[in-house]
């Protein structure tokens, strides 16, 4: 029996063990705390009447003083308390109206308040090992995870230089799913997100329905109008059935993680409590679920960045580029914003660009920038300059890679944590058709949404014909910002590849891509006729570009989706591909008819 996995040393097994232990503790710690309700932790309401009503209801129902074993129990008990307080205020209002000139809705307790206060309530009532010892738990999870990861990764530096893709399609972690299984996972996730969307939009089903309609329309266009039904892909990521068991497990874990992070943060307060000391140390403020996410994200980019270095030791482009995403994540996304808030200014990630940063033109952001004096104005100018000057100019000279695979945070995660899954991107023509519809659709949606938001900002009028600017922006944030970029974008790494979001969803990538496709010096050149059509380039293209299709004809590759990660060039066994910035007037090099297989005088016949 031969060994269908890469040889691991004892130290590496130890590292793997430690990492798994850390992951186990990280998961298990969510159940370790208990929750003691004291009068100090009760929500205060927005005025003394609400506060009193909540306190009374809590006392009447014996909520105060109780200790609960899980956040679920707290939630249901508190829900009773809340309903009771709500009822009491309602009754007072019916009887005698609101005192102190309070408006009806300032006096009564709105439903939204319950949701908003759940997280702070649970967090502040939390007691137990994590609250007692956050640094210890930080060490046991983050520390042990980093240690295990590095023990596993560092020995790889001693390997010979060269392509290291052995056994990727033998491993149950990285081999992917069949087209059918993948569609099942994707289908259920989409339906689930849309269904939850109805609740999220407080019962309004219009936007979820519109979204479903658009999805169906695109599928009809592709399958029937463009005839893809007859062209079932054979080259989707699809080894036997669902044998990529660890990949499925990993994907599910990530999906659940994102669901909790975005929509049920009250269930992950132990993590927040754990990172709180670090956040306080860095920013001076207290932690939220986003601090957990930011810390985890940065640590993963760094550790998996080291892995990337070990894997591509022989390739300087990969070393520099990976260093760049590690730097931008740690500096720009993680440390600088914290520093900014320590200095009391607005805290922003200076490398984020609209429309990826879809909330840039939201009223609260504009107001906060406008209220922050010269620095705020500078930040506003910086953000706008990136959109109108930075993107076109830099993309003209270097292609969209300057952002997507050198700077961007989503790209940074995809290129580090996502690298083991890059081969799972679908290379079929059908996938390319979906890509073009969806990504440009999201770009249009982002522009429309932003226009509505700005219309509201300048006119003060939120209602545009039958549409409401708040609803549009809320739905965009839910569907694209959380559902697409997070749940599907990252959760599907082990199922659909590491650039699912960047390829199908990111509106900034769409914008950068249009510049790259029509006005840029960047291209991937192919080395004459040296290609042997082996397919390594296409297989390892995370953006699902069928690189081989071009390479085997000696055509230059000028595609809007290419993020310039350079891996095709790194894995090509015949030295065929090179990422280059050249003279963009030479468009014939990318022509379909460019045939240089036989010598010039015979080609003349064509």
């Amino acid at each position: 029996m031969s060994n269908k996995s890469v040889h691991k040393t004892g130290l590496q097994w130890l590292g793997l063990g430690l990492f798994c232990l850390a992951l186990l503790l990280f998961t298990a710690m969510l159940g370790l705390e208990s929750y003691t309700i004291t009068s100090d932790v009760l929500p205060e309401g927005s005025n003394k009447y609400q506060k009193a009503a909540i306190a009374k209801a809590a006392k009447d129902l014996d909520f105060t003083g109780q200790t609960f074993g899980s956040p679920f129990e707290v939630k249901s008990a508190y829900h009773e308390v809340f309903t009771k307080a709500q009822g009491a205020l309602e009754a007072t209002f019916e009887k005698s109206g609101a005192p102190d000139d309070l408006g009806e809705w300032d006096f009564k307790l709105g439903d939204g308040y319950f949701k908003d206060q759940l997280f702070p309530l649970i967090r502040s009532s939390s007691t137990g090992p994590i609250t007692a010892n956050p640094w210890l738990w930080f060490g046991l999870t983050f520390g042990l995870g980093i240690l295990g990861g590095l023990l596993y990764i560092l020995p790889k530096f001693s390997a010979d230089p060269g392509i290291k893709n052995d056994h990727i399609y033998h491993s149950p972690l990285t081999r992917g799913l069949t087209l059918t299984w993948r569609s099942v996972f994707l289908g259920f996730t989409i339906i689930g997100v849309l269904a939850y969307g109805v609740t999220y939009m407080s019962g309004q089903w219009v936007w979820p329905a519109v979204t479903a309609g658009v999805a169906i329309l695109i599928s009809v266009l592709i399958f029937i109008v463009q005839n893809s039904a007859k062209h079932t892909p054979q080259r989707s990521a699809s080894p036997d059935m669902a044998s990529g068991t660890l990949g499925i497990l990993g994907g599910t874990y990530l999906i659940v993680f994102y669901l909790l992070l975005y929509w049920s943060p009250y269930l992950i307060t132990p993590w927040v409590i754990m990172v709180n000391p670090l956040t306080e140390f860095l920013s001076g403020g207290s932690a939220s679920q986003w601090s957990v996410y930011g810390t985890l994200y940065t640590v993963i980019v760094l550790v998996m960045g080291v892995r990337m270095w070990s894997k591509y030791q022989h390739n300087k482009y990969q070393l520099v580029r990976t260093g760049s995403v590690m730097f931008f994540q740690t500096g720009f996304a993680f440390l600088i914003p914290d520093l900014m808030s320590r200095l009391g200014g607005p805290s922003v990630d200076l490398k984020l660009i609209w429309p990826l940063d879809y909330s840039f033109f939201f009223d609260w952001n504009l107001n906060s920038l406008l209220d922050s004096g010269t620095f705020g104005i500078f930040l506003l100018g910086w953000g706008v300059a990136l959109i109108v000057i930075g993107v076109p100019v830099l993309t003209y000279f270097y292609g969209k890679r300057w952002y997507c695979s050198w700077v961007c945070g989503c790209g940074g995660l995809a290129e580090t944590m996502g690298d083991p899954y890059r081969q799972l991107s679908d290379k079929s023509m059908r996938a390319w058709k979906y890509e073009r519809f969806i990504i440009h659709g999201v770009l249009v949606a982002a522009i429309v949404m932003t226009a509505a938001v700005l219309y509201h900002f300048f006119t003060g009028n939120a209602q545009i014909w039958i549409f409401n600017a708040y609803d549009i922006r809320k739905w965009y944030g839910f569907l694209i910002g959380a559902g697409f970029a997070g749940v599907v974008g990252t959760g599907f790494y082990p199922l659909m590849g590491n650039r699912t979001w960047c390829r199908f969803g990111c509106p900034l990538a769409a914008y950068l891509g249009l510049v790259q496709r029509y006005k840029s010096k960047f291209r991937i050149t192919t080395n004459g006729s040296q290609c042997i059509s082996c397919g390594n380039c296409s297989t390892y293209c995370e953006m699902g570009i069928d690189v081989r299709y071009y390479a085997q004809r000696g055509q230059d590759i000028v595609r809007s989706s290419c993020v310039g990660c350079g891996v095709c060039s790194a894995v090509c066994p015949r030295g065929v591909l090179r990422l280059e910035n050249g003279d963009d007037t030479d468009q014939f090099r990318a022509d379909e008819t460019r045939a240089i297989h036989i010598t010039a005088d015979s080609v003349g016949i064509l």
Binding site: N3, D160, S428, S529, Q530, R578, E580, T599
Partner: protein, 456 residues
């Protein structure tokens, strides 16, 4: 008109694509090995788990139907050339108006005793890879590989990834030294020897293979008697045109199927291309059979013109090739013999610590550059080809050597070092004037185009 192509390798497929591009004739492509075309040089990657077998297919399966190229999976047993008819293994027949033979090559065996045992395989077909997989899964603990060519080293790499120890028996005193010049051959030899678990045996030839009594391989025995216990013997002592099944017909055969300059055989309306074709009059300096990927592709394109009544002689242009020996990339352009011919000079530079080297060839008399031989460095096909085609003076080539560099961005450029080593050898005082980069290349190529009409 019904054009039938036997063989769906690169030669057959290229012919079919170009025929379709330029005509509306009925096209049928037949292969016994697989329904769909796949990249033969990529076989190793499916065994090593870099790709799934479907990734080896350069076109999606619907491509053929969409382009109205009929595919038939069957073995052709005989051809009745007089009746223009093929006979399949199951007895059925098919008629053709024009026939293209693109039947490739097969592993060469040299009548070793025991070569029919279970566990003796080449690595040329999908079935070979499946056999390797099956043996690896079942009982393979040690493997022996016979013959030091390009396929042998790929087989060795395959087993290496599965941590199966390999004894690699090579007849020569240094790896592939019939093709590689001495320094490069030494470099590759050392590269192989550094690989853990690969026991490279130079100057060792297979004499026979012993079975275990159940018809399975147990031992390979070298000339001189050394024994290598193993469960698998990989054969890579070269390939030969797949023509045995065509003997006893009117078709003129030599080592391969004899074809003229227009890739026509001695029989009317029958052509042969790719690995199986033997040129009666090859271009000067070229071999009659060049069993490489690029030959198949260029012949496929050429034969399409010839079939469609646009007589086009086969002109493969300036030779080029590439390969990879474990982690060591190899590229050549032009003529790069392993021994220096009388009327030529060469220059060799090797990196002091890494496996990187370059060798330049030029004519003593005219100083025209003749060839580039590269290890661990990528050079640009277009540029090298243009220099050779234009018989550029070697000094000018060296002066602009950076233009040819095709290594990825940020890679160290060694041309400065190369130029000073060249100066030291030749007593010249050339200064490097061009560096790596597409813009310079584009200017260079444009200038050439305006100077000569020979290039498009």
């Amino acid at each position: 008109m019904h054009i039938v192509i036997i063989g769906n390798g690169i030669a057959g497929v290229t012919a079919a694509r170009h025929l379709r591009k330029q005509s509306q004739h009925e096209i049928t492509m037949i292969s016994g090995e697989s329904e769909f075309h796949y990249s033969r040089p990529a076989l190793m990657y499916s065994y090593m788990g870099h790709m799934r077998s479907e990734d080896l297919k350069p076109y999606e399966d619907w491509f053929w139907e969409k382009n109205r190229i009929n595919l038939k999976r069957a073995w052709v047993e005989t051809i009745r050339f007089n009746e223009k008819q093929l006979v399949f293994a199951d007895g059925s027949t098919m008629n053709y108006d024009k026939l293209v033979l693109a039947v490739g090559s097969t592993t060469s065996y040299y009548d070793w005793p025991g070569q029919d045992l279970d566990g003796v395989h080449g690595m040329v077909t999908l079935q070979d890879i499946e056999a390797m997989e099956r043996h690896s899964e079942e009982r393979l603990k040690r493997a022996v590989i016979v013959g030091g060519g390009l396929i042998g080293i790929e087989m060795a790499e395959c087993f290496h990834t599965r941590q199966i120890p390999v004894s690699f028996l090579v007849r020569e005193e240094s790896y592939w030294n019939r093709v590689l010049p001495p320094d490069e051959s030494t470099m590759v030899t050392k590269h192989i020897q550094r690989k853990h678990g690969i026991d490279l045996r130079l100057e060792t030839e297979l004499s026979e293979i012993w079975g275990d009594g159940d018809g399975k391989v147990k031992m390979a025995v070298a000339k001189g008697g050394e024994k290598f216990p193993c469960e698998f013997v990989g054969i890579s002592a070269g390939v030969k045109p797949n023509i045995e099944w065509l003997s006893f017909s009117e078709l003129e055969l030599g080592r391969g199927i004899k074809v003229n300059d227009h890739l026509e055989t001695n029989l009317k309306d029958v052509y042969a291309i790719g690995d199986c074709a033997e040129l009666i009059e090859p271009q000067p300096g070229r071999r009659p059979i060049e069993a490489i990927w690029y030959t198949g592709r260029m012949m496929g394109e050429t034969v399409a013109y010839n079939i469609l009544g646009k007589p086009t002689p086969y002109r493969p242009g300036i030779f080029f090739n590439s390969a990879k020996f474990f982690d060591l990339e190899y590229q050549v352009y032009g003529s790069t013999p392993n021994e220096l011919p009388e009327n030529q000079s060469w220059f060799y530079w090797q990196h002091p610590t890494e496996d990187k080297a370059i060798r330049l060839y030029w004519s003593k008399a005219s100083k025209a550059v003749l060839g580039f031989h590269l290890m661990g460095i990528r050079y640009r096909h277009e540029v090298c080809e243009a220099w050779i085609a234009n018989e550029t003076n070697i000094n000018e080539v060296v002066e602009h050597l950076g233009l040819a560099n095709f290594d990825p961005e940020f890679y160290e450029e060694h041309e400065e070092a190369i130029v000073s080593a060249f100066n030291a050898q030749e007593g010249t005082s050339i200064k490097l004037k061009s560096k790596r980069g597409l813009s310079g290349v584009q200017r260079f190529l444009k200038k050439l185009t305006s100077k000569s009409t020979a290039r498009v």
